[in-house]
């Protein structure tokens, strides 16, 4: 079975379309999206009389025509942003109310998710290629009903049969400095993972756990101070392990054939933990680049694994 695994596309329309096309491009049997489908930023396009303006990526834009606005919306969405045509009064409300920002973004995320799944279902129809979408810590439960349509299906927390294999998914992370939707303590993560140990054959088991194992080399992220500013050491970002100890313990104890992770965008790579091949393809969604891992497996063996930047 040929798997194409990606994670953390965070609202990038370009990355999602690439993911849908990746099946045919790489000859993959199954596409697995390891979570964090939802994007992060809301870009208001503010109308003032006959002109509109927006700020994105540190640059200011002004628009004279609706065609210009549409082109900007397309470009921003390609890179993961959600645009909203609005007026100065609503922007003031957003500035004063973080909860309103959350609600507004959630609505836009759900709309985009629905569009994406419809597109994927249409394109994958009759191709024999499946797309499994798991959640990540930046996603939220209300997205789940939108993730099942045709060849697209939700990869729920727990076990899922995948041909000759068992896919064990867990769309949660350990605690982060951002207090996101789907994070919990290491103890709770360990509890969620114990279900796995009782039910599956390791040589046919593939983990699809959003957070990578602690200190595996694929979980290094910049150290931050209390204001979330990147800290440097010797002029370089001071990289520290931030993965999950519960996931590390689970892999060490259970030794699945393959363990797929995301979450840490900078942690691109693959490594071995005993018999388990551990993979994190990383993420560069904000450049419209789809980082992934092309993996061929047979029961008891990972035949090949190649990291790609598609």
């Amino acid at each position: 079975m040929k798997i194409f695994f990606v994670s953390d596309i965070h609202g990038s329309v370009k990355c999602f379309r690439k993911l849908v096309n990746a099946g045919k491009f790489y000859g993959a049997d199954v596409l697995i999206m390891g979570g964090d489908l939802a994007g992060k930023q809301l870009v208001p396009i503010i109308a003032r009389g006959s002109t509109s303006s927006a700020r994105f990526n540190g640059a200011d834009f002004s628009f004279e025509t609706s065609g210009e606005i549409a082109e900007f919306e397309r470009r921003a969405s390609e890179l993961g942003a959600y645009t909203l045509r609005t007026d100065p009064a609503f922007v003031e409300q957003l500035a004063a109310d973080q909860e309103l920002v959350e609600q507004t973004l959630r609505k836009l995320i759900l709309e985009r998710t629905e569009e994406w799944v419809a597109l994927a279902a249409q394109r994958l129809s009759g191709s024999g290629i499946r797309l499994l979408i798991g959640l990540g810590n930046d996603d939220f439960a209300e997205m789940i009903p939108y993730l099942d349509s045709g060849a697209v299906s939700y990869a729920p927390d727990g076990l899922l049969e995948l041909g000759d294999f068992n896919l064990v998914s867990l769309g949660w992370s350990n605690t982060t400095p951002w207090h996101t939707n789907r994070e919990c303590t290491e103890e709770v993560l360990a509890e969620k993972l114990t279900v796995v140990h009782e039910s599956a054959d390791p040589s046919r088991t593939i983990f699809n756990i959003h957070v990578p194992p602690y200190d595996c080399g694929l979980d290094f992220a910049p150290r931050l101070d209390d204001s979330l500013q990147i800290q440097l050491e010797g002029g370089q970002p001071d990289m520290i392990p931030v993965g999950s100890t519960a996931v590390a313990d689970s892999i060490a104890a259970y030794q699945p054939l393959l363990s797929l992770h995301g979450h840490i965008h900078e942690g691109r790579g693959s490594t071995r933990n005993g018999r388990t091949l551990v993979v994190n393809p990383g993420s560069e969604y904000d450049q419209g680049s789809l980082l992934g891992a092309l993996i061929e497996v047979r029961p008891g063996k990972v035949k090949r694994c190649q990291l790609i930047a598609g």
């Binding site: 096309n21 700020r55 994105f56 500035a95 002029g235 392990p241």
Partner: protein, 542 residues
């Protein structure tokens, strides 16, 4: 659609973010810039200007040489800063060039960078021994009136001593990297960076607190204490004159030719723009960090030269550099820092100057190790190089196989530094400038190959029908080409086509060798069922 610079006229907040992971504030630009200046080691560059250009490039104006080199390097620096802010270079030039040009070109350019970086890496131990350790023991010996310390200082310029010190440098850092971690070798900067800055302060104080004649008199006393040679100033002047040295009138040709020496340092003030967060509010500030840091380095170099020439005199410094060192009873020509240390007449200032100067030589080793091992990791991850190169220690997460490979190669190259004269720091720069030129060529294509990224970046804009980035990048390619051509025609560079043809052609041949390795590796991987070309082939997004 128009892109404008600066804050929005109404000052309203324009981007809103959810509570989501990964949204961070960019690293402090000041912190990054300070280390960038340190890593680019401008006082070392000044040592070459005063030790080689002043005596041997008759009529060269050092200030103008620096400014011309700065003008040539600036488009390269701006291109890299802009390109890095648009396309993150987390994987280094390799990823950046592979995506925009071709994976074979990306690998070859990176292979060249690694091959020449090793020359830089191994130069540190060599110069640390000659320019810091030996003068330091000589200075201590003079003040302690200890012949054994002075003898030890003289011993340190012998090839065997240089080789041993170089090996300690290379293997020591390699072992720290393997058994401690990447963080540990970067932590060394916490101690060496302040020392290097204190050294510069001591240098300035030492020169400013005495008149020129007093400095010369102190230097005479220092040399007399070190070797017994009386009136070293006059002896050096006579020897330099016999060697053909004199202060010639201004020559534009010599001034331009001399850009060889600043060009091994100025184009490398890169790096600080890499740490942009995902919501990039402050990218314009970061955009400036690299080029502005280079300007600070340039200004620092000009100040060091002005202080040296103004207080010690160009005739004095030129004769000391041009004189036969044995006439002064020394094993090698003293650097401007040793001259200053000896001329202050103060042991505390002298020791601080020399330790500080030595500290400027240290960052090259860990930074080169990091760059080279990261490149090798990238090659291995993309299956161009053997998988073993990406093996990491389970205890320290260090890529120990890559580190061992680099350390062993460095240990061998160190022998060449100690026992032959085949390498100069310019040889190290030669291939790297080629890589920078290819990087600029790749960056010139961003507006065409990454239209959305370019259109939504803070520097998007056109002059006529040409994107601004493409114009700057084209100037960067031209700058890199000028530097390479200057290296190739300068007899002092060690890589010129006439007097060092073997080194020139070997250096130039590294690029096609890299392309050949890529395709050879591709053929081997294909037999294993892996298609190398897939690593960077873009999936159609439509």
């Amino acid at each position: 659609m128009a892109t404008t610079q600066g804050a929005h006229p109404t000052g309203e907040q324009q981007v809103f973010a959810r509570r989501s992971s990964g949204l961070v504030r960019a690293a402090s630009t000041t912190d990054a810039s300070l280390v960038n200046i340190y890593v680019a080691t401008f006082p070392i560059m000044v040592s070459f200007l005063l030790g080689i250009v002043l005596p041997f490039y008759g009529g060269a104006n050092l200030y103008l040489t620096l400014l011309i080199a700065g003008v040539v390097a600036m488009p390269i620096l701006i291109t890299y800063a802009v390109a890095s802010s648009i396309m993150r270079r987390s994987g280094g030039d390799y990823v950046f060039i592979s995506r925009l040009l071709h994976p074979a070109v990306g690998f070859a350019a990176n292979f060249v960078l690694v091959a020449f970086q090793i020359v830089f890496l191994t130069s540190s131990g060599y110069y640390f021994c000659l320019w810091c350790l030996s003068p330091l023991f000589r200075l201590l010996g003079v003040y302690a009136a200890s012949p054994s310390l002075i003898n030890f200082a003289n011993t340190l310029v012998h090839p065997l001593s240089i080789f041993i010190v170089s090996e300690i440098f290379v293997i020591g850092f390699g072992l720290i990297f393997i058994f401690r971690s990447t963080r540990s070798i970067l932590k060394i900067f916490r101690y060496t960076l302040p020392l290097s800055l204190i050294g510069l302060l001591a240098f300035a104080i030492g020169l400013l607190m005495h008149s020129t004649s007093s400095l010369h008199s102190n230097f005479n006393t220092y040399i007399q204490g070190a070797s017994g040679v009386r009136n070293a100033t006059a002896v050096a002047a006579a020897s330099a004159k016999a060697n053909g040295f004199s202060l010639l009138p201004f020559s534009l040709g010599a001034t331009v030719l001399a850009i060889t020496w600043p060009s091994f340092s100025l184009p490398y003030y890169l790096g600080s723009a890499y740490f942009a967060g995902e919501v990039r509010a402050g990218r314009r500030v970061q955009l400036l960090a690299g080029p502005v840091t280079a300007l600070i380095g340039l200004a620092g170099s000009l100040i060091l030269i002005a202080l040296s020439l103004g207080r010690l005199g160009s005739g004095f410094l030129g004769s000391i550099a041009a004189a036969d060192p044995s006439k002064l009873g020394l094993g090698g020509a003293p650097t401007y820092m040793e001259v200053a240390a000896g001329s202050t007449g103060n042991i505390v200032l002298g020791v601080l100057i020399l330790i500080g100067f030595g500290s400027w030589l240290i960052p090259t080793v860990p930074m080169s190790l990091l760059i080279m091992t990261r490149c090798m990791l990238g090659w291995s991850m993309d299956r161009v190089a053997p998988d073993a190169l990406s093996r990491v220690s389970s205890r320290t997460n260090s890529p120990y196989v890559s580190v061992i490979v680099v350390t062993v190669m460095s240990a061998v190259i160190s022998w060449f530094w100690a026992y032959t004269s085949v390498f100069t720091v310019v040889v190290g720069a030669f291939g790297q400038v080629i890589t920078l030129g290819i990087g600029c060529l790749a960056a010139s294509l961003i507006p065409f190959k990454q239209k959305d990224l370019y259109a939504t970046s803070p520097i998007a804009g056109y002059l006529g029908r040409l994107p601004k980035l493409t114009i700057i990048a084209a100037l960067g390619v031209l700058g890199a080409l000028l530097i390479v051509l200057n290296f190739a025609r300068d007899p002092s560079s060690g890589v010129d086509v006439n007097t060092s043809p073997v080194m020139f052609w070997v250096s130039l041949g590294m690029f096609p060798a890299g392309v050949a390795i890529y395709y050879l590796s591709g053929a081997i991987r294909r037999r294993q069922g892996i298609e190398l070309g897939l690593a960077f082939r873009e999936i159609p997004p439509e």
